[in-house]
């Protein structure tokens, strides 16, 4: 089976951390789910459940 692709990449210089982040789909997936879950859903739901009862 001829599936030889490109040879292993050997970058000539170290890859910066930001580029490593952008090249990592699963890390991005984690961040992309965690951010709105915490900031929007969890924060919002906590505010709703902590509402006082009407006098």
């Amino acid at each position: 089976m001829a599936t030889q692709g490109f040879e292993e990449d050997v970058p000539e210089e170290p890859v910066p951390a930001m580029q490593q982040l952008l090249d990592n789909p699963f890390l991005l997936l984690f961040i992309g789910i965690a951010m709105p879950t915490v900031l929007y859903i969890v924060w919002g739901v906590m505010e709703i459940v902590s509402l006082p009862i009407a006098k």
């Binding site: 001829a2 030889q4 692709g5 490109f6 952008l22 859903i41 919002g44 739901v45």
Partner: protein, 572 residues
């Protein structure tokens, strides 16, 4: 079962198609266009009813038609098409086989069944609950069930896309980082996964409630979590159509991104912040504090708006650089004047970019400002806004891409090329006018989702000003023009795909991976300096001027709205 490793190379574009991926893309595209056809027919009923002079449908039918129109357009048309885009960006652009085609097929059929079940529930007549289906207003259980099935199918497709990224990396089908368009598709995919997860959190309990297993759904809780699904699903579109813009700039002009760092960084801001904007829908609701509202509605200090403004510069900027390198280097706007305005792939993309920015983007920020939302919430300004983003922005970009895909993916010539030339203008300008007039009517207080603003037979009628009636009538006329434009698109695509002249390549065959596959195009030479193109030390001065015009319009309109707000009754 052996892995299918059969590929073909498109003779026109040099793109490499994996056999199962190609078939999947075709089926998704067809399902999308069928949804668009249904939604388009329903649009006639919506337009002709809200145009009060005609007031075509009775209320029950109107709300039923409006519900089905929203779901078929906002959910089924767009997400079917987006899954095709994901497979294109994953398999074709990475020159990789698609991961697990059989699971991808199962996902596709699940989506089809979900769409059919949901349409069935609305067609029954007891589920006219609108796209938002706000509990405690209840629909038939099949309404939620259909949406859940569709969402599960879409979720599985997203993971097939992620799996394809893994396969491509493991089999080293590309070198270095994934292409920018694939990165944009990845952004859309990540947003889609959050969207669907949020949908599951709220729709599954609602389904149990509808069959009587749960006895109470809290309206505020529902609305908060539902919008993490409902608004984010529209953010998938933003990421997807921005990717399509980059793709079209590359396809039509050979444009390369001005800077990978900037464009990818902007997509990264989408991944971080875009979905917070679900809060736009809860700005005048009780129970959520201003802290939560301000932080979320502004995507954490408007960083996702910053990202859109960056894309809005870099896409035309890349086109300008490419055009100037081809010799259209005189003055500020020669590059734009000499663009292929008769090519629907380009004209659709460009109208999409302008309409999304000027109409959709600016109005979206107005509605998403905590206090300004009070003078806009639930008025017909809101549909005005999203017909600029989702229709002029996303739908038109997808239409443009279709004209590229008909020969490349379906191997057919585009039928009625003369009509295709005009279609983006008719549809894009008609729909832009719809947006503008609806926004105008909304500013005058006309409510959305309302059968009769004449309040005939009502004990306490309200008389809207004449200008509001005029705006609604003009929106009706523009809506009909847009529907004609949509009909042209459907005629061209359906005609081409089923009856168009086949493109036959002598000696065509699918070949096993990497045997006899056309050579991978040599990497473009790295351009470190653009030499003498541009002016004033900028490579894209014309685009910069356009961006400043945009900014001026934005700032002006923003403060006009604050001024307007300051005149209404004080409240705190």
């Amino acid at each position: 079962m052996a892995v299918n490793r059969m590929f073909r190379t498109c003779p026109a574009s040099g793109l490499l198609f994996h056999e199962p991926a190609e078939k999947l893309m075709r089926f998704h595209a067809v399902a999308a266009v069928v949804s668009l056809l249904i939604g388009g027919i329903l649009a006639i009923g919506v337009v002709l009813t809200r145009w009060q002079a005609i007031h075509l449908l009775p209320p029950d039918l109107f709300y039923q038609v409006l519900t089905a129109h929203g779901l078929n357009m906002l959910v089924f048309w767009i997400i079917f098409f987006e899954m095709a885009v994901l497979y294109f960006a994953g398999s074709t652009l990475l020159r990789s086989r698609l991961a697990t085609p059989r699971i991808a097929w199962a996902a596709f059929w699940l989506m089809v069944i979900g769409a059919l079940v949901n349409n069935y529930s609305v067609f029954r007549g007891d589920s006219s609950v609108m796209f938002t289906s706000y509990a405690p207003m209840g629909a038939h259980p099949t309404f939620y069930l259909g949406l859940i099935l569709f969402a599960v199918g879409a979720l599985v497709s997203c993971f097939v896309f992620l799996g394809t990224l893994v396969v491509a990396r493991a089999e080293r089908t590309y070198r270095g980082s994934i292409p920018l368009v694939t990165f944009g598709a990845l952004t859309a995919c990540i947003i889609a996964i959050f969207t669907i997860a949020a949908g599951a959190i709220i729709l599954i309990p609602t389904f149990f409630w509808s069959v009587g297993l749960i006895d109470h759904i809290d309206s505020l809780m529902y609305k908060t979590v539902w919008w993490a699904f409902g608004h984010s699903s529209q953010q998938i579109n933003v990421a997807a159509h921005v990717s399509v813009w980059y793709a079209v700039a590359a396809i039509v002009f050979g444009a390369k991104p001005m800077s990978e760092k900037v464009s990818r960084g902007a997509f990264l801001l989408y991944i971080f912040f875009l979905q917070l904007a679900s809060a736009h829908h809860l700005l005048v609701d009780p129970g959520l504090t201003s802290n939560w509202k301000i932080f979320n509605t502004s995507y954490a200090m408007y960083l996702a708006v910053l990202a859109s403004m960056v894309h809005g510069l870099t896409v035309p900027g890349a086109i300008e650089v490419a055009q100037r390198e081809k010799g259209h280097n005189q003055g500020l706007f020669t590059w734009l004047r000499r663009a292929p305005w008769g090519n629907p792939v380009f004209s659709a993309m460009f109208i999409s970019l302008i309409g999304f920015g000027f109409l959709g983007g600016i109005s979206g920020v107005m509605m998403g400002t905590e206090q300004l939302n009070m003078i806009i919430h639930n008025t017909i300004y809101v549909p005005g806004h999203f017909h600029a983003t989702v229709v002029v922005g996303t739908t038109l970009a997808f239409m443009g891409l279709t004209y590229f895909l008909i020969p490349v993916l379906f191997r057919r010539e585009v039928m009625f090329p003369g009509m295709a030339k005009w279609q983006p203008y008719v549809f894009g300008l008609g729909m832009s006018a719809v947006s503008l007039f609806l926004m105008g009517a909304g500013t005058l207080g006309v409510p959305r989702r309302h059968w009769d603003i004449s309040f005939a037979g009502n004990p306490f009628p309200y008389e809207f000003p004449g200008a509001a009636w005029l705006m609604m009538a003009l929106a009706g006329i523009s809506g009909l023009i847009a529907i004609v434009g949509g009909g042209m698109y459907l005629l061209i695509t359906v005609g081409s795909v089923f009856l168009g002249k086949k493109i036959v390549t002598p000696g065509f065959q699918h070949v096993r991976a990497r045997e006899n596959v056309a050579a991978i195009p040599a990497a473009a030479p790295v351009i470190t300096s653009h030499g003498s193109i541009g002016a004033g030390g900028m490579v894209a001065p014309g685009t910069f001027v356009l961006a400043m015009v945009f900014l001026a319009a934005f700032v002006l309109y923003y403060f006009i709205n604050w001024k307007y707000l300051s005149t209404v009754w004080p409240l705190k």
